[in-house]
């Protein structure tokens, strides 16, 4: 059960971006950003501030708004301009308690650097790949971080902080079309510098990565022949046939303990 935190007057800001469908390339809600909005909605209800920097694809912005927010802020600038300085200025003046972002953008460079750059410039701590935000007490938040293999780690971090939201966070709610159309978008034109480094790059459709071949470094023809014809099966496994079920179970348990999966 999610604790009701909306009464605590938390100032939460979620950054949103224009996502891209991995196959069709169509613009859509970005998966991780939508999860960040969902997390923010659970934390502070419709007090959540949703923020986007860029040209702002109208349909995509409306699909975020359709999650149940009356308004959002759009810092309008060209898509080729650098978002970080603009965001830093805005966030320094508005000072949210929690800033939620995705881990990686779904289009463009997708370096995943934005939360790190913001945290560094603002001087806030950063927790990456979170799955959930629990209790917030006395300016300290309990955060659940997603680790590989479905594991979780509990972390305590002082407010204000930046957090990037992993795919392991709760699924975003469905977007409602009507409320999304009726919600307001606060346009604020800003003048960001053009990202000069990026304009020198060449972009092309992704090539298929070559598969690494298994190179057999055999000295003799006989060795090569053996490597080519050997069965893939490992062989040499231990087989317990005659032992009693108790001994067999003990052998299995010993292996599980040795591998560290049974504690």
């Amino acid at each position: 059960m999610q604790p009701d935190l909306s009464a605590k007057n938390l100032n939460v800001t979620s950054l949103i971006s224009v996502g891209q469908h991995p196959k069709s390339g169509r613009a859509r809600r970005a998966e991780q950003d939508a999860r960040a909005v969902e997390l923010g909605l659970n934390l502070s209800g419709d007090q959540l501030e949703m923020l986007h920097v860029g040209a702002g694809d109208e349909a995509v912005m409306r699909s975020y708004l359709g999650m149940g927010l009356p308004k959002m802020t759009l810092l309008k600038q060209d898509d080729s301009a650098d978002a970080v300085p603009v965001l830093c200025d805005y966030l320094a003046s508005h000072a949210p308690d929690i800033l939620l972002t995705g881990v990686r953008a779904e289009s463009g460079e997708a370096s995943g650097m934005l939360p790190f750059l913001l945290a560094e410039k603002l001087g806030w701590p950063l927790v990456s790949r979170i799955a959930e935000i629990g209790d917030v007490n006395d300016g300290v938040a309990e955060v659940l971080q997603a680790l590989p293999r479905g594991q979780r780690r509990a972390i305590k971090v002082r407010l204000p902080f930046v957090a990037s939201v992993d795919n392991a966070a709760a699924e975003p709610r469905q977007s409602a079309f009507g409320p999304g159309q009726r919600a307001g978008i606060n346009d604020m034109p800003v003048a960001g510098d053009v990202d000069a480094v990026r304009s020198g790059w060449e972009e092309s459709p992704a090539r298929k990565k070559p598969k690494r071949l298994k190179v057999v470094k055999a000295k003799t023809a006989a060795d090569r022949f053996k490597a080519a014809t050997a069965k893939a099966s490992g062989g040499g496994g231990k087989v317990l046939k005659k032992e009693s079920p108790a001994e067999q179970a003990q052998a299995v348990l010993d292996l599980l303990i040795e591998e560290g999966v049974v504690r």
Binding site: G108, E120, K209, Q250, V252
Partner: protein
């Protein structure tokens, strides 16, 4: 003595005649060694096919190319085999004394061991060293205690290890401070990180933000001038100038496998302590049933050989294993479809996979191809799963599971008493 090759036609004649009583000695004196090679008429070294092999039990000549019997055929054969084995073990050692520059690779070390991705990154380091002027050394940076002893074979010329409890668990701020100390001391030519969810990406981005560098991320083809990087949603490739800091994708370069390196430890002058604003409260117990099958670490899988399903679910719960199933168990309605393992279900990556009553259809074996340790509990000793398994127990699965449940229960109670 003159360097002219003097031929002795008589000895050569004897050496050609296998039936001559002095054949063996003549072979030896013409070629210098007993088996094989003789000087041909032009002075070239010739292989003598009559010199190799031995006469088999039926009187037919046999050539033992796999060197299976060499050890038994005499001291000379034993020596040859020994020399070959030693050559395989001792790779040539590459040393770099007083390097002109450093390439620093910060490694993930999942579970204290080098991952395949780590080795790829070290291989990329050597590729960059080879492409840059001057002598360079690849430095491996490792946090926490490692169980690894293969740094030399993975290609680490130098090794920096950060020990101490301040580096345990989730400690990115302290780690970045340590990397800053490395930056001050070594001024590396390149910084390499694995772009992985095991921590490499986070650490690389943090350091890049701290140093004000713009890293190449998800780079998968890197040379000294240009890097090819994957963009968002894996849909574009970005070709750019190679920056100083690189976050490398998997299989970015070939691993080092033909040389050994020093792995000499570098001691740093000292790393300042940072005020930790993030506190690690340890890992949280996760319900193994909630973990997606594809990324579960420990799977207990059931097949046609299971008759007592309540017992199986109890075993999975008590072992804290994620449940899997073969196609038969799913088709018969005992397990839900999303639990199916194999080519038609989920391809699993578990470290330990316990197959109870699964004989191992080829589609199932494909699905468990990436598992490290496989345990088979089966009544048929000849099935494919037993051939694949590292440990197989042959018997009634119901009895063995019952014993296993009893053992784990008694172990947990014993552990509780010990703790109390």
């Amino acid at each position: 003595m003159s360097d002219l090759i003097r031929r002795d036609p008589r000895t050569e004649w004897i050496a050609r005649n296998r039936l001559h009583p002095l054949h063996a000695e003549a072979l030896f004196s013409t070629s210098g060694h007993p088996v094989g090679d003789v000087r041909g008429p032009s002075g070239l070294l010739r292989k003598n096919p009559h010199g190799v092999g031995f006469i088999g039990p039926n009187g037919i000549k046999r050539i033992d190319r796999l060197a299976i019997q060499l050890g038994e055929s005499g001291p000379q054969g034993g020596q040859r085999r020994g020399a070959k084995a030693a050559a395989e073990v001792q790779l040539p050692l590459v040393t770099v004394e007083s390097p002109d520059f450093y390439v620093v690779a910060v490694l993930d070390m999942v579970g204290g061991r080098l991952t395949g991705h780590d080795k790829d990154v070290l291989g990329q380091g050597h590729k960059l060293v080879a492409a840059t002027e001057g002598k360079g050394a690849v430095v491996a940076v490792v946090f926490g205690d490692s169980k690894e002893d293969g740094f030399d074979k993975a290609g680490a010329d130098r090794l920096i290890q950060f020990h101490g409890e301040q580096y345990d668990g989730y400690s990115p701020e302290q780690r970045v401070t340590a990397l800053e100390a490395v930056e001050r001391e070594l001024e590396p030519e390149y910084w390499l990180f694995p772009d992985s969810i095991a921590g490499g990406q986070e650490l690389g981005c943090r350091l890049a933000a701290r140093l004000g560098e713009r890293p190449a991320t998800q780079a998968w083809q890197v040379d000294a001038f240009t890097s090819l990087c994957r963009g968002g949603s894996q849909r574009i490739d970005i070709s750019r100038e190679t920056p100083r800091m690189l976050l490398l994708g998997e299989e970015c370069a070939d691993q080092i496998d033909e040389t050994r390196h020093e792995a000499a430890v570098i001691e740093l002058a000292g790393v300042p302590a940072t005020l930790a604003r993030i506190e690690d409260c340890g890992s949280v117990d996760v319900d193994p049933g909630q973990v997606p099958l594809g990324e579960a670490e420990f799977i207990l899988s059931a097949g046609n050989g299971i008759h007592d399903w309540d017992q199986f679910h109890q075993a999975a719960e008590i072992l804290r294993a994620t449940e899997g199933a073969s196609r038969v168990a799913v088709d018969d309605g005992f397990m839900p479809r999303h639990r199916q393992v194999g080519a038609t279900g989920t391809w699993v990556t578990a470290r330990v996979y316990v197959a109870v009553g699964i004989s191992g259809a080829i589609q199932h074996m494909q699905g468990i191809g990436q598992c490290d340790k496989v345990v088979a509990i089966n009544s048929d000793a000849g099935c494919d799963m037993v051939k694949r398994a590292d440990l197989s127990v042959i018997g009634d699965s119901q009895q063995i599971l019952a014993e296993l449940i009893r053992l784990v229960e008694s172990r947990q109670q014993g552990g509780a008493e010990d703790a109390a």
